[in-house]
Amino acid sequence: MKLPIVLICSFFIAFFISFILIFILAKITSVSAKVKKNSEEHDTAGIKYNCVVKNVDIKNKLSQVVVKTNDKTTI
């Protein structure tokens, strides 16, 4: 293997890896303060609340039974 060829090839590979890595680095650093908010949950920071639920009464309406077959041998 001739060294100049290897050097040229290595240079391009290094270049290829570099612009991807530097891009990722630039992206990460260019976004300040992370959005802490989880989109699935409302952020309650700064909100003052007081919520009381009283006299909870639970009445059975209906049951739906799903038979779960964990046993593989039945088939």
């Binding site: 290897v6 570099s18 260019s30 300040s32 959005v35 989109s39 007081n50 049951s63």
Partner: protein, 543 residues
């Protein structure tokens, strides 16, 4: 202008002392003591000078004439038109707590991390342009009081009989709740995203509004109606009430009672009522202008939380790439020498592999940027555009995320399948030989790359607003060239080297394109961002 009782000088609100201080005789006054003649009569309105920028249309309240020659929103030096206007009085104000110096210090902390941001943002002179602006927010108070009957559900498991099922219940009771301090920005200028990132504001420190608080400060005008955010306020309250109810119901015989209620149902059942008040919240604000585009830097005037999306300086990016390339070349050379394999062919294989990675990164990035570009999450902008209240559907969001996640997995899986398939077809055809092996691998990888490029193009061209295709076309073209070389003369040293070099350059153009797209979104033309001009209204007529 607010006038000093003792000497007739101009008095301004001083952040340190939280009082109005006279610039001439140093007397200080409480904000509620100071009123303009006309203001004392009117409870609902106050008199304000509004400056309108001819360049971008921004309308800003200010008592000082310094506002007359420089637009804070589009950062252009221009003559602003001023008029006296009777403005609706906000109910509350949170006065500034952070001084300009403190704000600049907080901002410096986040610029320190942003190593690829333009260096002007570290320049003390540029940072002097931070302006104290009160941003109008809607301040919601939510109340619930009702007797309710809702559907409850509990899963049960019987381990001995391996039975599993659901029990449905009628859950009734009484709810009473009050929620205070839910704030949403009421100005089109200010994006929801930046607003959320400098949140929260601690509303316990709010004060009753007196116009004299604005002396020495800017204030934006309210233009988003409160109904845009009322359902969000109700949703926050309903979600909390539901959680409390679930906790209250999961007692005694019941272990894990779930209550499923849509926002509208919950509003009915809990009798959720919203009252909206106007509030002015403090923001240190700077628009950073480069050519005809601006980026916005914001710092919370109460807590000092800073947020912005920094543009990436192309010069810094290129310098970073150059430095990293020089650093990496020598170690990569050593690794290459360790392989007893033809350097040119190895080079071609490796570049094909990395280009596959870059297509995947491109795909993920373009998807994220486009979501941002479409403002799909900004309720205020959505309303401005379509005059329809945008309802963030939480379930839909989750589904979308899962879809994207599944898509990426799918993509990678199908790419691998394509490789294997082509490889096996060629093997069965009997072309397989030790040397052909490498060629087939390269052809397979090129086709895989093209496949990926096609998926990216589908994603990219599918969005009307996207104008970024030059990078993708260049990247795909590079892959086509590699494929052609592999078909015409796969053994040539020169061919393989040329292929690898072309591929890396092609993908480089793609990444430059991503940087430009990122900058396009952080730096906008102000007229596009601001209030609708004549053309935009004309455009929207056929909506």
């Amino acid at each position: 202008m607010f006038v000093c009782k003792n000497c007739g000088g101009n008095i301004r609100f001083d952040i340190k002392s939280q009082k109005l201080v006279c610039g001439i005789c140093n007397s200080s006054f409480e904000p509620e003591e100071i009123q303009k003649e006309n203001d004392s009569v009117d409870y609902d309105f106050f008199e304000a000078t509004i400056f309108t920028c001819p360049q971008c249309g921004a309308a800003i309240m200010c008592e000082d004439n310094e506002a007359a020659s420089f637009c804070t929103y589009c950062a252009s030096s221009t003559v602003l038109t001023s008029r006296i206007s009777r403005e609706k009085k906000p109910d509350y104000i949170i006065p500034f707590k952070k001084t300009k110096k403190e704000c600049i210090d907080e901002f410096r902390k986040i610029t320190k991390k942003a190593i690829f941001a333009p260096s002007q943002l570290r320049d003390a002179k540029v940072l002097e342009q931070f302006k104290a602006i009160y941003i109008p927010y809607w301040y919601f108070n939510v109340k619930q009081e009702a007797l309710f009957t809702v559907n409850g559900m509990e899963e049960y498991k019987d381990y001995t009989s391996s039975m599993k099922g659901l029990n449905y219940y009628n859950v009734s009771g009484y709810v009473e709740g009050e929620y205070d301090g839910i704030c949403r920005d009421g100005s089109y200028d200010f994006s929801d995203d930046l607003g959320e990132r400098i949140a929260p504001y601690f509303t316990a420190e709010k004060k009753k509004f007196y116009p004299s608080y604005l002396s020495g400060f800017y204030a934006d005008t309210t233009d988003i109606p409160s109904k845009v955010y009322e359902h969000e306020a109700r949703e926050i309250a309903n979600d909390i009430a539901r959680d409390v109810l679930e906790g209250e119901a999961s007692r005694g015989d019941y272990k894990d009672m779930k209550v499923y209620l849509s926002n509208d149902e919950a509003t009915k059942q809990f009798n959720t009522q919203v009252t909206s008040k106007r509030a002015l919240l403090p923001v240190w604000f700077m628009s950073f202008r480069k050519k005809d585009k601006v980026a916005y830097m914001t710092v919370n005037g109460q807590t000092g939380a800073a947020a912005t999306d920094f543009p990436i300086s192309i010069v810094k990016y290129l310098m970073g790439v150059l430095a990293a390339t020089i650093l990496l070349t020598i170690p990569v050379t050593f690794i290459m020498m360790m392989f007893r394999y033809d350097a040119a062919k190895l080079f071609q294989d490796v570049t094909l592999f990395i280009s596959m990675l870059s297509f995947i990164i491109y795909f993920i990035e373009i998807k994220r940027l486009q979501t941002k570009d479409l403002h799909s999450e900004d309720a205020g902008k959505f309303y401005q555009k379509y005059k329809v209240v945008y309802i963030k559907d939480k379930k839909k969001n989750v589904e979308l995320k899962n879809f994207i996640r599944a898509n990426i997995v799918d993509l990678s899986a199908s790419t691998v399948q394509v490789f294997i398939l082509i490889f096996y077809i060629l093997c069965i055809a009997g072309i397989f030989s030790p040397d052909a092996n490498g060629i087939l691998l390269r052809i397979g990888m090129s086709i895989g790359n093209l496949f990926m490029a096609g998926v990216c193009a589908y994603r990219s061209f599918g969005f009307k607003k996207s104008s970024r295709y030059i990078g993708l076309i260049t990247g795909s073209l590079a892959v086509v060239i590699v494929l052609a070389i592999q078909i015409i003369d796969p053994i040539s040293k020169f061919g393989n080297m040329l292929g690898g070099a072309v591929l890396s350059l092609g993908c480089f153009v793609m990444f430059i394109d991503l940087v430009l797209y990122h900058n396009e979104l952080t730096m906008r033309k102000p007229s596009l961002l601001r209030r609708r001009g004549g053309d935009e209204i004309a455009d929207s007529v056929d909506l």
